[in-house]
């Protein structure tokens, strides 16, 4: 553990200081160092989207991002999407309303991705939603309900 470096991260509006090796990914920093376990580790090689978070408002994969790389950038995870005790984010509500999951493991990543998909203006049709949500895999196959949830949340957010 000789190669640790101290980094300052802004996660969900809160400042955190932690000591990590440079090789530690943002995903591992969130889960193992900050106990923010809402962000899920699926494939850990950029193929499933379960680890999707927002950096400076854009969706990225936290498993292929080094924690040291996001110093000075604003990170939002599923825990920061709505304030504790406040109403759920419209995409979270839509996923509940439309039963857009079974096991739920991919859901935090799906929701973070869906929020961006709508913000980017890529939820204009079911085909467009499928294309721009293709980076998030669901092994349970809840895709039809996920598309419904994104479509309905887009109406609420517009």
């Amino acid at each position: 553990m000789s190669n640790q470096t101290t980094i300052n991260l802004e996660i969900n509006g809160q400042a955190h200081t932690l000591a990590v090796e440079p090789r530690v990914t943002l995903l591992d920093a969130l889960r193992d160092h900050l106990e923010l376990t809402g962000t899920k580790k699926g494939c850990d090689q950029g193929q499933c989207g379960a680890c999707t978070v927002h950096v400076d408002g854009e969706r990225v994969l936290s498993c292929l991002t080094l924690a040291v790389q996001v110093e000075g950038r604003a990170v939002t995870t599923i825990e920061g999407l709505s304030d504790p005790g406040a109403e759920l984010h419209p995409v979270q509500s839509a996923f509940l309303e439309h039963d857009a999951f079974q096991c739920g493991y991919c859901t935090p990543g799906q929701i973070m991705s869906a929020v961006s998909c709508i913000r980017e203006g890529h939820a204009g049709s079911d085909d467009e939603i499928r294309e721009y949500m293709s980076g998030n895999l669901c092994r349970c196959g809840a895709y039809p309900h996920i598309v419904e949830a994104v479509r309905e949340a887009a109406k609420v957010m517009s």
Partner: protein, 327 residues
């Protein structure tokens, strides 16, 4: 992933002098470097983060052509209105590649330098032999599962496919890779495997891609990218074609045609034989069909990838007809 030391480059000069050190890699979007570090293919001792460098993410289009900074993200280039107007095939190749998350991370320079998806290359623990990883050690793909492997530009040492979409469009429109002051035409930037498949491009240690330029042309303005793959999205090409056409004043005789192929060759592939056969001809289905067969002249299959010799000309043919209708 083995640990490494991390340096945040404050200037291009600092990045370049660091990159000249042994076992050092430049880190931009990280989507290839970290992926391959986890697979055990990359084991850098030093990683130089270039993402904080200023002024390297500019996208500019003027009468001369497009000027794209190496650190511009795939998603920004794909959505840029001037790129969309002047180089639609470039935009289409970008938004049909990877996923929305990866396109927000990956840079244009890094995109060009992505490594092959050959499963044997990516799995050194199970397959120690790989001529690309360890020169002279052998190749498991020749007799192995090679459905995704190349049929063009192969050698006895390597049949790994160059996986990128963007480069297929760039090679069609004579893009130039800028390594600081040194400018390399993209067709010369990427190397055939030959007996040295570990050498994939013309970049030397201590160099980095700073800019990519694409000359403006009527063919580029009337271009399209057609990608055929095993699933509809978030998948590498089984075969793809970037095609641009410029017609004579009669609106039917081809003055200029450019064709770049993806998913079927060891490097981004320019289909010059098809271009030569169609220049001066009228776009007519039978003419296009027979010319498109020339795309796979000299192709060599290794079993599982034989279908690509049939598929690639069909993709070229469809892309030409689509592009012809757009021009």
């Amino acid at each position: 992933m083995r640990d490494f030391s991390y340096l945040r480059a404050g200037s291009v000069d600092e990045a370049l002098s660091a990159a000249a050190m042994p076992a050092t890699m430049l880190l931009a979007g990280g989507t290839t470097l970290l992926d391959l570090a986890k697979c055990g293919v990359n084991a850098p001792e030093r990683v130089v983060d270039v993402t904080h460098l200023k002024g390297l993410d500019t996208i500019r289009v003027d009468a001369e052509g497009a000027f794209i900074g190496a650190l511009a993200k795939m998603s920004r280039v794909a959505a840029d209105p001037a790129i969309l107007a002047g180089f639609p095939a470039v935009s289409e190749a970008l938004w049909q590649a990877a996923s929305a998350q990866i396109r927000n991370m990956a840079t244009i320079g890094g995109n060009l330098l992505q490594r092959t998806r050959c499963a044997y290359f990516r799995d050194p623990a199970s397959f120690p032999a790989c001529n690309k990883r360890v020169p002279g050690s052998g190749c498991s793909a020749m007799e192995g599962v090679n459905r995704g492997h190349a049929v063009l530009g192969t050698s006895d040492a390597c049949i790994a496919t160059y996986p990128g979409d963007l480069a297929a469009a760039l090679v069609a429109f004579d893009a130039v890779v800028h390594l600081g002051e040194r400018k390399v035409p993209i067709d010369d930037f990427f190397l055939l495997p030959g007996t040295t498949p570990h050498k994939e491009h013309a970049m030397q240690p201590g160099e980095m891609i700073t800019t990519i330029t694409i000359p403006a042309s009527a063919a580029a303005r009337h271009s399209t990218y057609l990608k055929v793959r095993d699933r509809q999205s978030y998948e590498f090409a089984a075969a793809s074609a970037a095609v641009g056409i410029e017609f004579e004043a009669d609106h039917e005789t081809i003055r200029d045609i450019r064709i770049g192929l993806g998913g079927v060759a060891t490097k981004p592939w320019r289909a010059r034989a098809v271009e030569d056969a169609l220049r001066g001809k009228v776009v007519e289905p039978e003419t296009v069909k027979s010319a498109s067969r020339l795309a796979v002249e000299g192709a060599v299959a290794h079993g599982g990838n034989h279908y690509k010799i049939e598929l690639a000309p069909r993709v070229v043919e469809r892309a030409i007809l689509k592009s012809g209708a757009l021009a």
